[in-house]
Subunit: 375 residues, 2 copies
């Protein structure tokens, strides 16, 4: 195997491939990155058995200049370190007697031991199935808005991921840890999709934002037991979570006694002050007393002190005189997903969840259960 | 005690006072920050027994508005957290029955428990002694350039700090861990100082850069056993290290067989590539073979691979044909202290130290001993 390639582009792709590796896997082969050079392209593959990564580089997208096809299995870390430290625009990769890789430029030469490529498993990447085409950046925002409510370690396996419900008109992304629900709806332009209901593991979702960094378009391919994300020249494939995701929409209150209209950032700042860190590691409780013209925000940090603030910068519709308490982390994380937008918080009573959405539309809903301590 | 003050300025000073505290000290009083309000100023004091901090705020520098003099002892952490989260320009501090501090603004009120101010020790700050006046930023650079060679845990106590040797004309700052020496000379404008030789503890030096951030002027007051740094409204006082610091200048070679003239950044990049991380935690050795037109830089990472690069971007004076090896960390750290400047590396032979300085002047000298493995 022998080729020359754009250093920065190769570095970027090997870096992505390396990122998903499970370094605790006792099989060193699985910890390697597989490079296969054919007559027209270089394919970079890695896997951690749940997730698999594949990137295809060509002369078009990476100035690839092929000298001699072949395949090698490299340890990513040192190759990444070396590529990062080189200044040259191009680098040469040459396999030396199947046991060494030589990375060279005009003035330098790095010889590094490699693994046995013959041992690498053959991985299947699925590119057929139900296909959703989404805006890459909108999907990235959706991840940030919903991931907060996933409990990766939930005892109920089906809750440990993001539920994707495709209907005739839209995709609904839902996550819940049973204390709160995050739900985002994206309309579909191509309205001939069959109904699908899958749940994607949390670990997979954590890797996606980096891959989506500047991606304009994203193709999601859903097939039996797998989801594959196609982002430019990269395929990113994951197992799915088995089991029925609960119908979280049924948990949303429909009728409200009080609705608060507010700038999310202003309310956030006040709540943030009331959310003082405490040493005992217990969740911090924030108490809201909602009256017609003021919200009194109160909190107590045991053995430290207490905080109270009068918040006036809002509008109320419905009946005031509501006293309700929340786990501050849940409320703050929910508010943060709205950027700096006018939002509404819809309340029923001290025991029923608050539903938070933008004033313009309710494509994003954050539902948070209060902490009800009785009287 | 009752006063109102500029929130951001108070936050900054309490933050600095808090930073030196030793939270492992079993005496909670020593972990507190002492605030003393008199008729014309607020004094903020903290100590960790080796270092002491004092800052004086007035109406002039902090919009201080005094209502009722008094003194309190606060726990810094929560006060800092609260001041940081408030938006208001001014805050009110009120002592409530000697056991609580109330921090309030127009709309908010934070009540926090405090410590007993009567228990706080009386600390003496020395403002008399030999006084050096230095440029704050030049001293900050000097710290960055010399601290690399201090071994905080040196068995020889006198080496665990920065030596300051004041002569009639200049101050010489020296540090050594016995493998390398960093030495910086600053000329004095006021040439009537008596000769002084003191050593400042490493921990003290670590705190100084933050205090010097934007300081134009720095006054160093040296008295028996103590050094006090006066930076604007802040006094920062430290114990000194006992014991004789070695005469490191005597270790500098005076005659050289080969001198290399080079841009520090270019050589750094090459050495950086040869300094690959290794897993076994042993220091990485870089080997240089210096010939008339080329320096061949070589390194080996055991069980990983080896690197070689030909470096040509330099000028040689004297005899080439020198083969010499260094601990890569020592050589890289020394080169990094020169920013992006033309420097010279002066060699004697494979067993004697290299002396590195700027081409323009030798106010900063980095001396690094080679690793001589015999033949």
């Amino acid at each position: 195997m022998k080729f020359s390639i754009n250093r920065a582009i190769l570095l970027e792709e090997i870096y992505k491939a390396n990122k998903i590796l499970d370094l605790k896997n006792p099989n060193p082969t699985i910890g390697g990155i597989f490079l296969e050079l054919t007559m027209d392209k270089l394919t970079i593959i890695s896997t951690n058995t749940v997730l698999s990564f594949k990137s295809v580089l060509t002369n078009n997208n990476a100035d690839l200049d092929i000298n001699e096809p072949g395949k090698i299995l490299i340890k990513g870390r040192y190759v990444i370190e070396m590529l990062r430290r080189l200044d040259d625009q191009y680098v040469n990769f040459t396999a030396v007697e199947n046991s060494e890789l030589r990375i060279s430029t005009t003035s330098s030469e790095f010889n590094i031991n490699i693994l046995d490529a013959e041992d690498y498993p053959s991985l299947g990447f699925r590119e057929k199935g139900t296909i959703l085409e989404l805006d890459g950046q909108e999907f990235k925002r959706t991840l940030a808005q919903t991931l907060i409510s996933i409990d990766e370690w939930s005892k109920k396996l089906s809750l440990s991921g993001l539920n994707v419900h495709v209907t005739n008109e839209s995709v609904i992304f839902s996550a819940t840890d049973l204390f709160r629900i995050s739900q985002k709806t994206i309309s579909l332009t191509d309205k001939e999709t069959e109904e699908i209901n899958i749940t994607i593991p949390y670990k997979t979702l954590l890797e996606l934002p980096k891959l989506l960094e500047n991606a304009e378009k994203l193709k999601i391919v859903i097939s039996e037991g797998y989801v594959t994300f196609v982002i430019n020249n990269v395929l990113f494939q994951s197992n799915l979570i088995d089991g029925q995701f609960p119908n979280v929409s049924a948990a949303f209150p429909q009728e409200f006694s009080a609705v608060i209209f507010v700038e999310s950032k202003k309310l956030l700042k006040t709540l943030n002050r009331a959310d003082l860190p405490n040493d005992d590691g217990l969740p911090q409780i924030i108490n809201l007393r909602i009256e017609d013209d003021s919200i009194y925000v109160k909190s107590t940090v045991s053995e430290v002190g207490n905080y109270e603030e009068e918040f006036k910068d809002f509008k109320l519709e419905g009946t005031g005189n509501l006293v309700i308490s929340f786990n501050s982390k849940f409320l703050l994380e929910a508010l943060k997903t709205f950027d700096n937008e006018p939002i509404k918080l819809q309340f029923v009573n001290p025991t029923r969840p608050v539903v938070i959405s933008k004033q313009r539309n309710d494509k994003l809903k954050q539902v948070v259960l209060p902490t009800y301590l009785g009287n």
